[in-house]
């Protein structure tokens, strides 16, 4: 029995709740009928358990805190944050880069692995895409708030105006605006497009007229005709084909935000791939972090199996090794180069006042994921959650190191400064975490958590193989 109910399909999965190395991608006992019933059951259930209500209430409390923090920011200005010369990019940019990286991992799973025709993706792509949507929404808040006069954000759009001015197209910050806007719009459309057949299933499974109307409106009249499937598959493939390069471009441009500035520690050609590696690591970590409880709470053990944990663990390890290489190259190029100020900055990072943050980054992003070399760790839900959480925290520390440490120690010692975040900085950070969790909770309440039409293909393919 799960926390949601006692459906027969759900009960059937009680034998294999614990991930095992021998697990298949989907358990053979599942048919397309039982799978559809299992996936549809939670969203169609009228009353949700206490854990969901309490979690949502907690998350909404943080959303309220975010609203207060943003409201005060609009009234008092960005002086309420800890930023000041020379550290003019504080939590806003740290959190922005952190969130957009988390978002990117979801797109890698949903788009890149679709193009590679990877079977295991079917069970995880909906979770990954939902993470992308809400993480990208959280990320998009920060650059707007950081503008100083957020209500004039539309000045970033290139449009003819009475002032006769145009945006500065040669600045990576404007490239970033275009990239994030494209990414958010494309991710929402990709997400909804991928949901359409499953929303049609929900429409046809629902009994209550109001529920049928709700899912029917979202399903856009999809009926599963041969013609509709034909164009749907082509459209989905096309979207996946452009989402994969888009996500790489988005995070490369985030890297260029830094690399384009003549700031110590930032002005490096390795920043675009370095940021993409970081996005991979934090994205995979967040998918694992969300998949473990969702699997248990919604009774999805037959679809998110030990095989998925095994693969995600390996992906986490691989991306951690890529990021470790980038950390190593950062140290190497600093000392291989002639810039004394860069060397001084690096020594400040590893042995200065804020060195614990640097070493936390190394410990959480480089050393902790090495445990994933062991299969027993990859299949242990508690350890998987713990390591994923460490990586998520480690990636935030990495952004703190990049943003704050470089800005506080400029070329000119007389211009050195310090940075202390204020309570408003922390409120905004935790507020967006609340927004993200609230979004995920609402999504699992209303939408199928696993892509049913893709799981049907997997189940039929497996059934044919074993025939």
């Amino acid at each position: 029995m799960t926390l949601l109910g006692t459906g027969s399909a759900i009960e059937a999965s009680a034998d294999h709740r614990k991930p095992r190395a021998s697990d298949p991608i989907v358990f053979p006992a599942q048919t397309i009928s039982s799978m559809t019933s299992t996936i549809c059951a939670p969203p169609l259930q009228r009353n949700w358990p206490l854990w969901w209500k309490l979690s949502l209430a907690g998350a909404l409390l943080f959303v309220l805190i975010l609203a207060v923090a943003i409201g005060w920011l609009f009234y008092a200005g960005i002086g309420i944050w800890g930023i000041s010369w020379p550290v003019v990019w504080g939590f806003a940019i740290i959190n922005y880069v952190w969130w957009i990286a988390i978002a990117s991992g979801g797109t890698f799973i949903s788009a890149l692995f679709y193009l590679a025709e990877v079977e295991w993706r079917g069970a995880l792509n909906r979770i990954a895409e939902t993470i992308t949507i809400f993480a990208a929404a959280c990320a998009a808040i920060y650059p707007i708030l950081h503008l100083g006069r957020p209500w004039l954000f539309y000045w970033l759009f290139p449009y003819p105006n009475v002032m006769g001015v145009w945006p500065q197209f040669r600045s990576p910050l404007l490239w970033d605006f275009a990239a994030i806007l494209t990414y958010v719009i494309s991710s929402i459309l990709f997400w909804h497009f991928g949901l359409v057949p499953d929303l049609a299933t929900m429409r046809d499974k629902a009994d209550a007229p109001r529920t049928r109307r709700f899912y029917g409106a979202l399903a856009l009249g999809f009926r599963g005709s041969e013609n509709a499937w034909r164009y749907y598959s082509i459209g989905y493939g096309l979207l996946a084909a452009v989402m994969a390069p888009l996500v790489i471009s988005v995070h490369s441009i985030v890297g260029l935000d830094f690399a384009g500035a003549a700031t110590l520690g930032w002005h490096s050609t390795q920043f675009p791939p370095f940021f993409v590696f970081g996005a991979l690591l934090s994205g995979f970590a967040m998918v694992m972090l969300v998949a473990v409880p969702v699997r248990r709470l919604l009774g999805l053990e037959d679809f998110i199996t030990g095989r998925h944990f095994d693969i995600l663990g390996k992906l986490l390890l691989t991306s951690s090794l890529c990021l470790s290489y980038a950390y190593l190259m950062e140290a190497f190029t600093t000392f291989y180069g002639p810039d004394a100020a860069a060397k001084r900055l690096f020594i400040d990072k590893v042995a200065g006042e804020l060195a614990p943050i640097y070493w936390t980054t190394i410990l959480f992003n480089v050393l902790a994921p090495q445990a994933m070399w062991r299969r027993s760790v990859r299949l242990n839900e508690t350890l998987v959650v713990l390591i994923s959480l460490l990586v998520i925290v480690g990636m935030w520390c990495e952004r703190y190191v990049i943003v704050v440490m470089s800005l506080r120690r400029t070329h000119l010692p007389s211009a050195w400064g310090d940075y202390t975040p204020t309570v408003w900085d922390w409120m905004t950070l935790f507020g967006t975490i609340g927004l993200f969790i609230a979004g995920l909770l609402v999504a699992i309440r209303l939408l199928p958590t696993v892509s049913m039409f893709e799981m049907r293909e997997v189940i039929l393919r497996h059934a044919r193989r074993h025939r």
Binding site: I185, A200, R223, G224, Y231, L460
Partner: protein, 177 residues
């Protein structure tokens, strides 16, 4: 005043439910071969086989290239003609720095063109259709395959029924299409 009773509308179609994809595909092929009417398959997952050629990718590419070219042109116009600024001595037509936004605009145009184009071809937003009255169709998005055939006359309708029964249809429903 006397009202004339409306003449009952004779069903002109059939909807046959199948439990397997293979049987539904055989039935569809047989109906098409017998040319008894317009037959359509409704299924819970995409039909097997390689995708048939479509102009949708070419359309999306064209719109994407137009989007990218438009964004590049806009940046060039703004920086060279409308608002030339000397930033660090860089020339007004700094074309390499116009590429990222042109790329993003191209991607956005492809995504919009794909969603609109594929949506139009898939029949998105068509909330009402004559097949909606068929009860069996509610199961096609769950776990059933339904072949719907619209026959021109009663003879074709009878032949369609015979073919569907031969192919192992679990249930056959009459429909007004």
């Amino acid at each position: 005043m006397k009202f004339e009773a409306e003449a009952p509308i004779a069903p002109n179609g059939l909807a046959a439910t199948f439990l397997s994809e293979d049987a539904s595909l055989v039935a569809l092929a047989n109906l098409n071969a017998a040319a008894v009417g317009h037959a359509r398959l409704f299924s819970p997952l995409p039909p097997p086989g390689p995708p048939k050629p479509s102009r949708l990718p070419a359309f999306a590419l064209l719109i994407g290239l137009l989007g990218a070219a438009g964004a590049f042109g806009l940046q060039s116009y703004a920086n060279v003609v409308a608002y030339p600024l000397d930033i660090g001595g860089r020339p007004p037509f700094s074309w390499p720095s116009f590429i990222p936004i042109a790329f993003e605009a191209g991607i956005l145009a492809v995504v919009l063109a794909t969603v609109v184009g594929a949506g139009a071809l898939c029949g998105f937003m068509r909330y009402c259709d004559s097949v909606d009255e068929i009860r069996a169709l509610r199961d096609t998005t769950i776990d059933r395959w339904v072949v719907v055939v619209r026959a021109p006359d009663s003879d074709a309708l009878a032949r369609s029924r015979s073919i569907l029964e031969r192919c192992g249809a679990r249930a056959i429903e009459e429909a007004e299409l």
